[in-house]
Symmetry: C2
Subunit: 195 residues, 2 copies
Amino acid sequence: MVNYPNKKKNNHYTSMIEGKHNTAHRGMNLEEDINLTNEYYLSHDIAVIHKKPTPIQIVKVSYPERSSAKIVEAYFRTPSTTDYNGIYKGKYIDFEAKETKTLSFPFTNISLHQINHLDKVIHHGGIAFLIIAFTKVNEVYLLDASFMVEAYRKNDRKSLRYETIKEKGHLIRQGFLPRLHYLEIIDQYYCEVFK
Amino acid sequence: MVNYPNKKKNNHYTSMIEGKHNTAHRGMNLEEDINLTNEYYLSHDIAVIHKKPTPIQIVKVSYPERSSAKIVEAYFRTPSTTDYNGIYKGKYIDFEAKETKTLSFPFTNISLHQINHLDKVIHHGGIAFLIIAFTKVNEVYLLDASFMVEAYRKNDRKSLRYETIKEKGHLIRQGFLPRLHYLEIIDQYYCEVFK
């Protein structure tokens, strides 16, 4: 498969900013890119990583005629863990993915529950990180969760600057298939630590 | 905390069979017992294992007045993975939990997607298994996924008999806290294999 990093750079994440339904599209696209990447990893027998379903509180279900159950009242619940987890080279992988349109990552983008969850994963020997997409510059970074946990708990600021994430994180190579080569970074920076 | 294995044996799973809302209660209870067990493991810093949310296809969301989003049309989707996963002693853990009121485990209780998923987890070095509760005899077994995958694919029968699961699986000790001591079995039969 051929990668189109340059072409993509000009029309992918950035183009979403110009679209009419910015927020919805931006949010969906990083998620879609990660899902497609995970499908690629799965079908090529590289890793088994899935997005968890959105947690929903079901209040009312109806059974119209003979058809299957129809949920008629439900609400979104705050996730207590992260969106993605799975296994890669025998290692437990756990991460959260977030987009931001500004050149900073506000801590309000992630919940305390998720911070605590990532911290627990590290404590138990897993690989935990964040994938942060800066739509403005069309760059996606992998940031080790330990850095985020520490910064979040320090409580002396309300966000991480783009420059900090650029310095402390790792730029994820974008391509066609997989869209986001994030496991390359795990190979390079994590797997030797765990051996 | 004190365990009440004998007391429980007489009034827990079995009592549900006598209840009026058998199916609903039976299904909820194994799930509840596992959730409570996982909460115990989490709060005692033993393992980080969570139930994945039920996958739901959202069709229509309304935003009544100023309140938060209300889902007004949604449907249950077939899960492509298992219900539970997480990390224990640095190892990736993945399992599905099922109850049966007869003395056999029908293969219709588990989907081909889930069988394939468990197989992939094993292939990538994870610990994969099933937790099967026989409500009639109030016994809960941990059965290695590799045995289930093989039996399922052999296609020469439509279920596993209770006797087979008793022979090939491991009886999970029931208690008060945690309710189902399933990680004991991982310690005993899995962790040394992975060292």
